[in-house]
């Protein structure tokens, strides 16, 4: 069953086309990674799919109940504590305060936020804690679709792994589908069913590869070999690598 479908979607900021002819379909409980060089329009695409941005043209169909969004920046309310930030979507949904508290605490626990950090305001949280708060906020509503826009960039390696596992587990347990934007090909290989590569100029989806095995069942060596294979042999990924090198240089 298709839960998200984009057809012929394009977008222009003030006349400058950043996305064109985008077509993609996501099935229920499917995790799709979206990769592409910086500035190619990944965030724009996520915002369009999540309904935050009207596309200049194209059609979007959403067949899920409720989505959660984890933005590229944490986007926390500075006047609210971490707990209130996590519970914010529940407040919007009219959930009672006791229930809100319980669910916010459960979500915070899952992203490894300590109870004492829940009383802090965002200014008093570290960058990684802020991002984890935002992840908890995205998952607290029991979504059946989650948009992740490079959610783990601010996290260290160990925490990143832990959060990836969290997403894999949660997606399996709660059967949510996800569109997961990332720069990191091994992250994509680790947690996605399918990888889409966005054209460097945003002109369409350049191609897609399905990843062998299921998320959560791939060993580190498998992930490593798939990534190596993609990077050394697959022309689809050559462009990402090029741009990455240019950026580092």
């Amino acid at each position: 069953m298709t839960v998200l479908s984009l057809q012929g979607v394009g977008h222009a900021y003030l006349g400058r086309t950043v996305l064109d002819r985008i077509a993609l379909d996501l099935s229920a409980a499917e995790i799709v990674a979206l990769v592409g060089p910086s500035g190619c329009g990944k965030s724009t695409l996520v915002h369009i799919a999540a309904g935050l941005l009207e596309p200049t043209h194209g059609r979007i169909r959403r067949d899920y109940r409720r989505h959660g969004v984890v933005f590229q920046e944490p986007r926390l309310l500075p006047w609210a504590t971490a707990r209130e930030n996590i519970a914010f979507p529940l407040r919007l949904a009219g959930v009672g305060s006791g229930e809100r508290r319980r669910r916010a605490e459960a979500a915070a626990m899952r992203v490894a936020l300590a109870p004492e950090d829940l009383e802090k305001y965002p200014v008093a949280l570290s960058g990684g804690m802020r991002q984890r708060t935002a992840i908890a906020r995205g998952l607290v509503v029991d979504p059946d679709f989650v948009y992740f826009d490079e959610p783990f960039t601010a996290l260290d390696v160990a925490l990143k792994r832990r959060m990836q596992d969290l997403v894999i587990d949660a997606a399996r347990r709660e059967r949510f589908a996800a569109l997961f934007v990332t720069h990191d090909l091994s992250e994509a290989v680790r947690l996605a069913h399918r990888i889409l590569v966005l054209d460097a100029d945003g002109l369409g989806i350049e191609g897609e590869r399905s990843v062998p095995g299921a998320p959560g069942e791939r060993s580190d060596t498998q992930v490593f070999h798939v990534v190596q294979g993609f990077l050394s042999e697959d022309p689809l990924f050559r462009r990402i690598h090029d741009v990455d090198e240019r950026r580092v240089a």
């Binding site: 915002h47 986007r75 500075p78 914010f88 949904a93 009383e119 305001y121 948009y147």
Partner: protein, 274 residues
């Protein structure tokens, strides 16, 4: 300063303590002013500038009469009523204008003109329209203070973090909900300082309008003191009006503000807290 646990009660006590501390600092500043005043008195003599102590004595003797209280209350009532009206109108229109680029562009030149007209001109017009009545004072106060609030509210909305708007939208908040839950909180940073200024302006303008329109209140009392060349009484009235302003600013506005802006405390390094 006080290193208190972040528990709700401790936090509140800490904020109250800081509030009292700021009162103490205020008294120190005012004492300095009184010193300069005393020097002025010693240089120019009783007729031009009565001593601070003599003025305080005049205040105390004024306060013994119930007339004084009702006169001061009259002015306070007018100023506060006008301020509340101007505040509500200013916030409503300002927030609406902040959300609408077209309204913002329209409001710009109008505000420049309205803010450019001195309050005294409004008093003259209001006296022609309303005669010597409450209406004159209130109209002047509203016209003089609402643009201040309006501009601040508009600026607050226009400079809000749109990322937070998008975030709220992503989690299902409609436009009104976004405005109330996300927009208004960001307006506070601009709005509260403007409200303090507007309240001060409201008192000043109210006294001035009362004096010119001869409708009683502190302004009326000042007019009488001038007629009798009674500088001590005039100064006493001025002190009373300022005291009423400070009472409302520090008793109502600032506590509201520190309650709303509590999170900013967390951003301040230890020691910089007032």
């Amino acid at each position: 300063m006080l290193a208190l646990p972040t528990s709700g009660l401790g936090d509140r006590i800490g904020r109250t303590a800081r509030f009292l501390w700021s009162g103490w600092a205020g008294i120190a500043g005012l004492s300095l002013l009184a010193t300069v005043w005393q020097l002025g008195h010693e240089a120019y003599g009783d007729f031009i500038l009565p001593a601070p102590l003599a003025t305080f004595a005049a205040v105390l003797s004024l306060l013994e009469s119930t007339d004084t209280w009702s006169t001061a209350f009259e002015t306070t009532r007018r100023a506060v009523k006008g301020f509340v009206m101007a505040g509500s109108v200013g916030v409503l229109i300002g927030v609406a204008a902040g959300y609408s680029a077209a309204m913002q562009r329209l409001a710009g030149p109008i505000l420049t003109v309205v803010l450019g007209v001195p309050p005294i001109a409004w008093i003259v017009l209001a006296m022609i329209w309303f005669g010597s009545s409450d209406g004159t004072v209130m109209t002047t106060v509203v016209i003089a203070t609402s643009p201040i609030v309006l501009v601040a509210a508009m600026e607050g909305v226009a400079t809000r973090d749109r990322g937070l708007d998008d975030m709220a939208k992503a989690f299902g908040a409609g436009p009104i909900r976004r405005c109330l839950a996300v927009g208004m909180r960001q307006v506070g940073a601009h709005l509260f300082p403007a409200l303090s200024i507007a309240l001060g302006t409201a008192f000043k303008v109210a006294v001035m309008a009362e004096l010119l329109a001869n409708v009683g209140g502190v302004g009326g009392a000042l007019a009488r003191a001038r007629a009798h060349l009674d500088v001590a009484t005039a100064l006493a009235w001025i002190l009373l009006a300022v005291a009423a302003l400070i009472l409302i600013d520090h008793g109502v506005l600032r506590p509201l503000r520190s309650e709303a802006e509590r999170w900013r405390d967390a951003a301040r390094p230890w020691g910089v807290r007032r």
